[in-house]
Symmetry: C3
Subunit: 471 residues, 3 copies
C-alpha cells in the first residue's frame, strides 16, 4: 500500500547502499503469509467473529504496552478503564479515555508501540495522520464507524492480514471450546492452541488447588498424587494435540532444571496438596516439571517453549486492584549455562526434542544462549522477546546471536501479542529489521545477495514453519 | 564559535541525511541554558571568585578521569602532583607536570576526556592546536596568562557558559557557608546544594563516629539514638532546602531497600555507636535509610537520587596514600528488580516521590531499569553515568532505554563533574549525541521531525528542569 | 591480492566517508608482520614440516568452530570423522565428510567461520567460488593437489603468511621437543611455547595425579609437597623461558584470587595427593595459584594471561565419546571487580607485572574490565575472545572498552586458533575491523587522521609486540 504517512523505506539504514539492498530483500518477503506460533489472542474473537466494540476497547484496554506507559507518567489505570478485580470504580466513558490517550500520544515517540500504532492506524483504518488533541474525536468516530462494517470483523481481518496459522496460549484445563467452534464452523482459518501448564505447576500459588481441581475435572480423574498429576498432564497434552496444538509453553522465573526421583516428587506434591509446600519445594518441582515436559515432548512431538526470567506482578498494589498482566512484570538476571545443564545433558542431543528458549536478559545472548544453541541439536533460540521485541532489541538479538549460532539455530519471528490489530504491524516491522540486518551483511561484503535472499526468507517464513512443525 | 579545529558536525553520523537532521536539531538546542542538577564543583570557587592558579591546578590535579589514565600507564601519581594524605613528597613543579601530561596526551585518543579537553582548549582558551611535546610550554604560558584576566574568573565563566542552575553535592553536616556567601553576595548565579548523607549512613566506616559528631554539632542536638539521628537528618534536609536544595543523593553499593522496625533500627544504631556494628548491620541500615529517605522526600518534596554499584577505593595503596576519589572506584554487577522491590511497592505509586536511579551496570538498562521506569510513576532514570558518560555510553543508554521507557521517563543530562571548565564541553557533547540519536529515528522514519524537535528540546532542557523541580 | 571474490572494502562501513578512511588506515597496516602471541597450533607441524594430509583433515576435523555448528543442526560428529576416545566407529571417507560440509556450508552465512573460510579458500588456495554441493568434489581435488606441493608445506605457508612470531600453548610438563627441533633446524621462523599449568593446578580433575607425575618426571624431582610443587612450577617456567616462552596462560572458571598461607596450601595439597580434595579446596587452590603465578611473573618477567569463565565439557555425552575441546565449552557469568581484588591490591601497582585478562562475559567490558585496566598499571585487556572473536564481537569490544581504558591498555589482536590456515584470515579481519572502528572516530571528528594512523598501527602490531615483550 503506497503511503506517504508510512515511508516505504522505514526502519532501513539511511545509507543508500544498505537501504536499497534491504528494500529488495524486504520486497521478496513482505507478502509471505504470517505464521504466528506464539501469542495471546483470545480464540473467542475468531470463534464468535463479532464486531469489535469501540476504539478504546480494541486498542487501549487490552494492551499493557500502552497503559503501562501512561501509568508511568502518573495517569491512574482507573481513568483508563482498566477493569478492577476489587470493584473499584473505573472510567466508563470510552471517548474520554481515548482523549487521554490522544493527549499523551507523544509519550510513545521512539517506542515500538508508537510504531505499531502508526501502522495500525494507517494500514488497517486508512488514517494518515498522527493522533492528537485536535483530531481525537474525529478519529474515534472514524474508527468506530469502520468497526461496525463487515470489513472489520475478526475473520475478515485475519484473511486481510494474510495469516496462515495463529497459535493462542491456553491453560492446561482449558476446554478449548472456541478452538473447536472455529474448527467446526467450516471457516478455513488455522487457529491452534498451545499447552501452558503454569497454573498447575506453580504449587505455592494461591490458585494452585483450584487449578488442580479444574485439571481433575478436565481429565475426569481424581488428581491425588504426583503420578495421577503427570498422567493428567500427558492426557491434556494429547487432547491439545488433537485440537491442533504443536507446542507447549512454560513461564518460569528460573530455568533451573533437575529431575526429582518419583519419591521426591510425590513427597513435594503431597505437601502441596496440604498447602504446606515451601518456596524451595516449588523451585524443585518446577525444575522437575521442565525435565518431565521435555520427556513428554520427545514422546508426543510437541515443541517445547520456555519463557524464563520475569518477576510477575512486581507492583502488588496494581496486582491486587487490577489482576495479572498489567505491565508490572519486571525482568530478572537469568542464568542458562548451569540451569539448563541437566536437561540438555539428558535430552539436548536427542533430535526428537525441539526446545525453544526465550530470554529477557540480553546479556545472555552472546554469553550463554548462542553458544548453547550453536552446539546442542535440540535447542533453538526464540526471537527477541517482550521489551526487546523492538527495532533496537531485534538488532541486538541478531548482532549478538548470529555470529555464534547462525540464523539456522533461531526460529524466525513471533508476535506474542494480545493486540490483534498489531499482528501485521509487528510482523512487518520484524521483516524490515531482519531484511535490513542482512542487507548490512551484504553491504559489508560478509555474505552475497544470494545468501541474503535465502536468509531473509528463512527468517520471515521458513524457520518458524519448520521449528513449530507447521507443515 | 566557528572553528576548523572543532568541526561543526562533530559526533554526528557520517551519513549526510542523519548528519543534516542532527545538525538542525542541535542548532535548536545548542544555545539553551545549561542546567547542571548534579555535580561536584566546589562552591568556594564561585563564592570567592578568585582566579584559577595555573593550568595544572585547574585541569590535571582535580580530575581523576585524567590522572587515572596516566597512572594506568605507569606514571606515578606523586609525579603528577596529586596531594597525599600520608605526607609523601609530591611533584611541586606544575610546569613539569604539564609536560608529562603533554607527552602522554595521545593516551586520551578516542576517550571522552580527549573530547572534553579539545573543547575546553578551543572554546574556553581559543587554542586551536593539539597539546604535544612541542607546544606544551607555549600553551602553559598562554593559559596561565588568560587565567589572570577577569574574563577567566569563575563567575564570569559561569555566565559565559550560560549556566542557569548548578547543584553541588554536600555532606549532611555541611554548613553551606559558601552557598550562603554566594546568595548574600548579590550575584545572580544559581548555585544550590544537594544533601548527601553517605558519611552518616555508612555505620561501619572508620569516620562514621566523627561524621555523627559533626552532624550533632550542625543540628545543635545530641545524637544518641536512632530517633535523634532521624530527626537530625530531617532537620538538615530542611536546612538544605532553605538554602535552595532541590535534591538528595546517596552513593551506595547495593540498592537493596528494606524497612526496619524502629526497634531493629535502634538496636543496630546502638551497636554502631559502640563500634560493634557488623557488615550485615550496615547493609540493613543502608537499606532502611533508603526507605526513610524516600519517606522524607514525599514529605519535604526533595528529589531523591540513588547512585549504586561502585566499589569505592578498590586500590588500597592508592586510597591510603592519596585518599578518596582517585580513579580507583570500580563498578560491580548491580540488581534492581528485587532490591528496589520494597521501596517501589511502598512508595513507587506515589506521585509525590521523584526517584532518580543511576547505574554503572549497563546490562540493567534494558533488563531492569527501563521496565521499572516504564511502569512506576515515581521512578525516573538518570543519564548514563561516570564511565558511561561518553559518546558510545550515551548511545547505548538511549538505544537500550528509549524503546521501553520512552524519553519522558528519563531526566535529561547531568555532568557530575569536578572539572568546572568541562561543564560546557560535557553538555555540548550530550546535546550533540542526543540530537544525533533522535536524527537517526527521523532518518529511519520512526518519528517525524516535529516529534524529534520536541524530544531534542526535552532532552537538552525541559526534562531536567521538570525532574529536579527547577522552575 | 586483487580479487573480485573478496571485495577490497569488505567489513568496512558502507558509508563512503568512513569506508575510504578505513581503507587508507587498513592499507597502512595490512602488510605488517603477523604476531600471534596466543594460540593452539601444534608445534609438530612446523617442526616436521610435512604436507597436510587432505582438505578434511586440514580444515574440518581440527576445528571445533566448524563441527559444532554442523552438530547443532543434527549432524553426528561420528559422520564428520571426529576421533573418538571410546573407540566408536567414525567415518573414514574424508571425501564423504567434505561433501557433508559442502551441503551444509550455508549454515556459516554471517558467521566468522564463514568469513575465515572464504579468505582461506581465496587467498591460500586461489579458489574464487563458494563451496557447494556441485563443486565439492572439484574443490576437494584441487585443494588435495595443492597440499602435495612444496608451496603448501607448513614452513612455506608460515613465511607466506608473513608471521613474525607464533606462540603455541603447552602443558607444564611438556618436553617442548618440537620447539627445540625447530630451533635446532636452522629455520628462522620464531615458534615459542607458552606455559599453561592448568593440568597440574586443577587438583580435583581425574587426570591430576597423572599430570603431577609427568611434572615430577619433567623436573626430575619428587613432588610430594606444596613446596616441591611450587619449586617445580618455577623450574618449568624457567625451562619454558629458556626455549623462548614470553608468557604463561591459565584457563579457569572463576578469576577469584586469594593468597593461602603456606600451611593452608600444604594441607590442601596433601588432601589432593590422597584424592580427597573437595571442590572448595580446588577453588581456593586455584585462587592461590593465580597469586603465585603473579608473584613468579614479577620475578621471571613472563607475561601472565588469564582466560576465565568457560564451563568446559558442558555436554558430557560428547566429552565422554570425543574428549576435550569439542565445541561444548559454554561461557558463564564472570565477576572481576571483587575476584581480582586481592591480586590487584598485592601486585597491580607493580610495573614488573604484565597481566592480560580475557573474558567471555561481554557485560564486564564496560562495567569491570575497562575501569580496572584504566587504572591499574599492571593490567591490560586481551582482545575479544573465542565466540566474540568476530566482526560484531570486535566492534562491541572496542566500543565498550576504548572510552574508559583507551586503546593503550589493550594488547592488539591474537588469533587463539587451532586452524593454521585461518591465521592470516583472522588477522586480516581484525585489522579491517579495527581500521574501520578508528575510521568511524575520524569521520565523527572525535580524533584526527594522524591519531588514527598511530592507533591503527598500534592495534595491528605495536601493542602486541610491546605487551608480550617480543622485541
Amino acid at each position: 500500500m503506497a503511503s506517504t504517512f508510512l515511508n516505504e523505506y522505514r526502519f532501513f539504514d539511511p545509507n543508500e547502499k544498505v537501504r536499497n539492498i534491504a528494500f529488495e530483500l524486504y520486497s521478496n518477503v513482505k507478502d509471505l503469509p504470517i505464521i504466528s506460533p506464539h501469542g495471546h489472542i483470545d480464540p473467542r474473537l475468531l470463534a464468535n467473529n463479532e464486531p469489535f466494540p469501540d476504539p478504546t476497547e480494541l486498542i487501549i484496554i487490552p494492551d499493557h504496552y500502552i497503559f503501562r506507559m501512561l501509568y508511568s507518567q502518573g495517569i491512574p489505570l482507573e481513568s483508563l478503564g482498566i477493569p478492577c478485580v476489587d470493584n473499584t470504580d473505573i472510567e466508563k466513558d470510552h471517548r474520554k479515555i481515548w482523549k487521554i490517550f490522544a493527549d499523551n500520544f507523544y509519550l510513545f515517540s521512539g517506542t515500538p508501540t508508537g510504531v505499531w500504532l502508526k501502522h495500525e492506524f494507517s494500514e488497517v483504518f486508512g488514517i494518515q495522520e498522527k493522533l492528537n488533541n485536535q483530531n481525537a474525536d474525529k478519529l474515534y468516530d472514524l474508527i468506530s464507524e469502520k468497526l461496525k462494517t463487515n470489513e472489520f470483523l475478526p475473520r475478515t481481518l485475519y484473511k486481510k492480514f494474510n495469516i496462515e496459522a495463529l497459535s493462542t496460549t491456553d491453560a492446561a484445563s482449558d476446554s478449548l471450546e472456541y478452538h473447536k467452534k472455529i474448527k467446526n464452523s467450516g471457516w478455513n482459518g488455522k487457529v491452534i492452541p498451545c499447552f501452558r501448564p503454569d497454573g498447575v505447576v506453580n504449587i505455592t500459588a494461591a490458585v494452585w488447588k483450584k487449578e488442580i481441581e479444574k485439571l481433575s475435572a478436565a481429565c475426569s480423574t481424581e488428581i491425588n498424587s504426583y503420578e495421577t498429576f503427570i498422567k493428567a498432564i500427558e492426557n491434556r497434552r494429547e487432547y491439545f494435540k488433537s485440537i491442533g496444538a504443536v507446542s507447549t509453553d512454560q513461564g518460569i522465573i528460573s530455568p533451573y532444571t533437575h529431575q526429582l526421583s518419583k519419591e521426591e516428587a510425590e513427597k513435594i506434591f503431597q505437601k502441596a496438596l496440604k498447602g504446606s509446600a515451601t518456596d524451595q519445594d516449588a523451585f524443585l518441582f518446577t525444575a522437575n516439571m521442565l525435565m518431565e515436559m521435555a520427556r513428554m515432548s520427545i514422546e508426543d512431538g510437541l515443541v517445547m517453549q520456555i519463557h524464563p526470567g520475569s518477576m510477575r506482578n512486581h507492583n502488588q498494589i496494581i496486582a491486587n486492584r487490577f489482576g495479572l498482566d498489567k505491565g508490572a512484570d519486571i525482568p530478572l538476571p537469568t542464568e542458562y549455562t548451569k540451569n539448563l545443564w541437566e536437561l540438555l545433558n539428558k535430552y539436548g542431543n536427542n533430535d526428537k526434542l525441539s526446545l525453544i528458549i526465550f530470554t529477557l536478559d540480553e546479556s545472555t545472548y552472546s554469553r550463554e544462549l548462542a553458544p548453547l544453541a550453536g552446539h546442542y541439536p535440540a535447542m533453538k533460540l526464540g526471537p527477541s522477546w517482550w521489551f526487546h521485541d523492538s527495532i533496537e532489541g531485534m538488532i541486538r538479538f541478531r548482532q549478538q546471536v548470529t555470529e555464534t549460532a547462525g540464523i539456522y539455530n533461531t526460529v524466525g519471528f513471533n508476535d506474542d501479542t494480545r493486540a490483534f490489530l498489531s499482528i501485521p504491524a509487528r510482523h512487518d516491522l520484524s521483516r524490515r529489521v531482519d531484511s535490513n540486518f542482512i542487507a548490512g551483511l551484504v553491504a559489508k561484503h560478509i555474505i552475497d545477495f544470494e545468501e541474503a535472499n535465502q536468509m531473509s526468507k528463512a527468517l520471515a517464513y521458513g524457520l518458524v514453519k519448520k521449528a513449530y512443525k507447521l507443515n
